[in-house]
């Protein structure tokens, strides 16, 4: 069997995982055999699920999982907004801040102390290299950049993701609240 010709009309999709648990990406993988059908219509040009290391200039659909907690999260959300025609907040962390935002009840210095000093017995030290600086407050993605579509859920079910992507690929505007909710 010969390999299918590369289809230039494929929808270009990028995903990123900010401050979340990767559960939303796992839920995406839960599409199982439907991924094969999806692969005929979309090309994943950037994602933790593929090898590409840089976000292309032009992307049709950008999907962000996770809240914005550090400077790197913010920069990536802004980059996604610049390069993606449509930006989707996938899951409660991206949509509400969810569990990562629970640290907002505390001062950032106390949070860092708790993580890197109080709970460490041997050579407690603060990370200064290769780790992006935490921001004072965890915010949902739409608090930093404009978001076109919100898919609540912790995580949104594969069924929800399938429905939303299907509607988008068909040129319709999905209504995720028909299928999912905060905490679903």
């Amino acid at each position: 069997m010969s390999a299918p010709a590369k289809n230039p009309a494929k929808i270009r999709v990028a995903t990123a995982w900010l401050d979340g648990c990767s559960g939303c990406h796992m839920s995406f993988l839960d599409l199982d055999e439907r991924l094969i059908e999806l692969a005929r219509q979309i090309e994943i040009v950037y994602s933790p699920l593929v090898d590409t290391k840089t976000l292309p200039e032009q992307v049709d659909i950008g999907i962000l999982e996770g809240a914005i907690s550090n400077e790197d999260d913010l920069a990536r959300a802004q980059e996604f907004r610049r390069r993606c025609k449509r930006l989707i907040s996938l899951g409660d962390c991206a949509v509400t801040g969810n569990v990562p935002a629970l640290r907002n009840h505390f001062k950032l210095a106390d949070v860092i102390d708790r993580a890197y000093r109080e709970t460490v017995t041997l050579h407690p030290q603060l990370p200064t290299r290769d780790v992006p600086a935490l921001r004072e407050t965890v915010i949902p993605v739409h608090a930093a950049v404009a978001v076109d579509l919100f898919i609540p859920g912790c995580p949104p079910s594969a069924e929800t993701i399938w429905h939303v992507l299907g509607e988008l690929l068909a040129g319709r505007t999905p209504r995720p609240s028909d299928l999912t909710r905060f905490g679903a």
Binding site: D92, T96, N104, I139, P152, C154, R181
Partner: protein, 243 residues
């Protein structure tokens, strides 16, 4: 169960809800008539069997010819009223009210014992609330787990005061009350003593069952495990009414 007989001198009035004709006793409220006829009007503070509080404003409806919105739980029907329960304006206001509730305290559904059994969460979904447009306040409130059977998490409280009313009006204990103003407002047990140290609480659990969110829950419940049962309330109030 028999419906209580109406007092003799109460008139029956006719009016319209969403363009359809209805009749009811003039001492009934709009929300009572709507619920009897299966017309969904959302509410978080109103609960059949308890006195009217009128705080949550989710049951606001439009009256033809009036620029003012009225609370369906606190407005009686009248002859000739034209009531609208689900206009785009009402949907927009209800969504905004829900957003403000989500932003005010911690309503992180994914880690709540009432996840999947919460009236606030269900209303958010029903009104297509898929994100909150105002900034979250992120202020920590107290959790009182001193009672051996129950727990109050003020982070989840929306101040509907159902607990206050059911404790006073149905159980007759009046353990619960309200203190403070604005964002400091909260429900309290006895004179703001720990729930577990309350002299008046009978541990009946009615407050837990009527609480629409995960603010009042049973001890020992984990995420999504706290289901609530409201059936006792119409049963008790009807029996009492019939006496």
């Amino acid at each position: 169960m028999p419906i209580p007989a109406p007092p003799t001198n109460v008139r029956v009035v006719t009016f319209q809800i969403d363009g359809r004709d209805y009749s009811a006793r003039e001492d009934e409220t709009i929300i009572e008539v709507a619920r009897e006829n299966g017309i969904p009007i959302p509410s978080l503070c109103y609960l059949e069997g308890l006195s009217t509080w009128g705080a949550c404003r989710l049951c606001l409806v439009e009256l033809a010819g009036s620029p003012r919105l009225v609370a369906a739980c606190a407005t009686q029907v009248a002859e000739g009223l034209q009531i609208y329960t689900d206009t785009p304006r009402l949907q927009r206001y209800r969504r905004t009210i829900l957003e403000l509730l989500f932003a005010e305290r911690n309503h992180v559904c994914s880690v709540c014992v009432s996840n999947g059994h919460c009236e606030l969460q269900a209303l958010a979904q029903r009104y297509g609330l898929d994100h909150v447009r105002v900034p979250y306040r992120h202020v920590a409130y107290e959790v009182d787990a001193s009672h051996e059977m129950f727990r109050v998490d003020h982070n989840r409280c929306i101040l509907c005061t159902r607990c206050v009313r059911v404790c006073d009006e149905v159980e007759g204990a009046h353990t619960w009350d309200v203190m403070g103003r604005g964002s400091d407002c909260r429900v309290i047990t006895d004179m703001n003593r720990p729930w577990g140290a309350s002299d008046t609480c009978t541990s009946c659990g009615k407050c837990v069952q009527v609480c629409p969110t995960g603010a009042l829950v049973k001890q020992g419940t984990s995420v999504g495990e706290m289901t609530k049962d409201l059936h006792f309330l119409p049963y008790i109030t009807r029996r009492r009414h019939n006496r």
